[in-house]
């Protein structure tokens, strides 16, 4: 598998709240809540970083097994897919 890049739908807004980060797809007017790491992943996707690059950067920033971080990132990406927030 080559380098994988993701693209987010265009009209997605993030909003910090006390309880987490609200992800608001203004196109479908649907919301879900994530945490600061989720927000970071979304921002890195927006910056055009590949999945591997995102995993690498998060591993440098946060403690923990790289494998675990990889799983978490993929899990979050699955969630984005389920919420239909990624472009095909």
């Amino acid at each position: 598998m080559g380098v994988v890049y993701l693209e987010l739908k265009r009209r997605i807004k993030l909003k910090d709240e006390k309880f987490g980060v609200v992800v608001f797809d203004t196109e479908t007017e649907k919301v879900f809540v994530t945490n600061q790491v989720g927000k970071e992943i979304i921002n890195k996707i927006k910056e055009g970083k590949s999945i591997d690059q995102i995993i690498e950067e998060l591993s440098n920033e946060y403690e923990g097994e790289k494998e675990q971080i990889r799983n978490d990132v993929y899990e979050f990406i699955d969630q984005l897919k389920k919420m239909d927030l990624l472009k095909e």
Partner: protein
């Protein structure tokens, strides 16, 4: 997913009814808008611009501007430009009558989340029955110009006894034109629609048929155009929203803030309250016993809805 608004520091969405003045006088208009229908004391150009600045300063993610006809408001362009230059998503609801080629270009340049155009018929005769004096041709041209300029166009179709048979043809036409979303739902028993209910109101059976047709069309145009049917009538919507209040205050042209259109209570006034106060009052408003009472009474007596536009200040002290 539902978010409990009581936990939110600020709203996710502002529905801004920027003027009640309109170049049309539609028979179904929930606001009874008309050329002379401006509310007394509507926000001036300067006040509207200031409010747009307040919205972007508070990082509201998404704003929808409606009316009346928003393009008639003297601050329309400045407001839209302020909102978009701060990367706040913006939807404009319009009848399209004023959208010439050059206006379409200017709107497209704003890179709007969407521009929603009302088309309540597939023929000029039917369309003008709902929208007397309007030009069907102008509206269709508006859609064409906007799409040529690359704008995201949505069509809203409000069903009535005399236009529902044209909905399917309009959907096909919309898809052909490159419209992104075709949206419809149950017509609200509110405003001028109340006076014309005998020629507007559809039966449950008619709505069921309509829904089936829409489901078929949604499948047909999957991936090309979304065909959406808003699933609630105005009373069901009120109950759903009462249980899960939306994070979206409704700001009226004179600055008074309501919970939603179908509840008469005013919870704040942007001339008197700061944005933070407005939001706190909005949240408090949803929990006020009078609101619960209204929702209950309308359930047993839907005709009461006709009074939802008679604003009543809610005592939130």
């Amino acid at each position: 997913m539902q978010i409990d608004i009581q936990n939110l520091d600020s709203p996710l969405f502002i529905a801004w009814h920027i003027t009640n003045r309109c170049n049309l006088e539609c028979i179904h208009c929930l606001w009874k808008s008309s050329p002379t229908g401006a509310f007394p004391g509507e926000l001036t150009k300067e006040e509207a611009i200031n409010f747009a600045k307040v919205l972007v300063d508070h990082s509201v993610p998404y704003v929808a501007i409606s009316g009346g006809e928003p393009l008639l408001h003297p601050a329309f362009w400045e407001v839209a430009e302020i909102i978009r230059s701060h990367d706040v998503e913006l939807k404009i609801e319009t009848n399209g009558q004023l959208i010439s080629k050059s206006v379409a270009k200017r709107l497209a340049e704003l890179d709007l989340r969407s521009i929603q155009i009302s088309v309540d018929g597939y023929t000029p005769e039917t369309y003008t029955k709902m929208r007397p004096g309007a030009s069907f041709e102008k509206t269709i041209n508006a859609i064409k110009y906007l799409i040529e300029e690359g704008a995201n166009v949505e069509i809203v179709f409000v069903p009535a006894k005399f236009n529902i048979h044209e909905a399917e043809k309009l959907i096909d036409f919309a898809a052909e034109l490159g419209v992104k979303v075709f949206e419809t739902g149950k017509t609200m028993y509110l405003g001028r629609a109340v006076d014309y209910w005998d020629i507007i109101g559809l039966t449950d059976e008619e709505y069921e048929e309509y829904k089936k047709m829409l489901e078929r069309k949604a499948k047909q145009y999957e991936g090309k155009m979304r065909v959406l049917y808003y699933p609630f009538d105005i009373i069901e919507e009120m109950q759903v929203m009462y249980r899960h209040p939306p994070a979206s205050p409704l700001v009226l042209a004179h600055g008074k803030v309501k919970l939603i259109g179908s509840i008469p209570y005013v919870v704040a006034d942007i001339r008197k309250h700061s944005f933070e106060e407005m939001w706190e009052r909005y949240k408090k408003g949803w929990k006020h016993p009078k609101v619960a009472e209204w929702v209950e009474s309308v359930k047993s007596n839907p005709k009461l809805l006709a009074k939802a536009n008679d604003l009543v200040e809610l005592d939130l002290s």
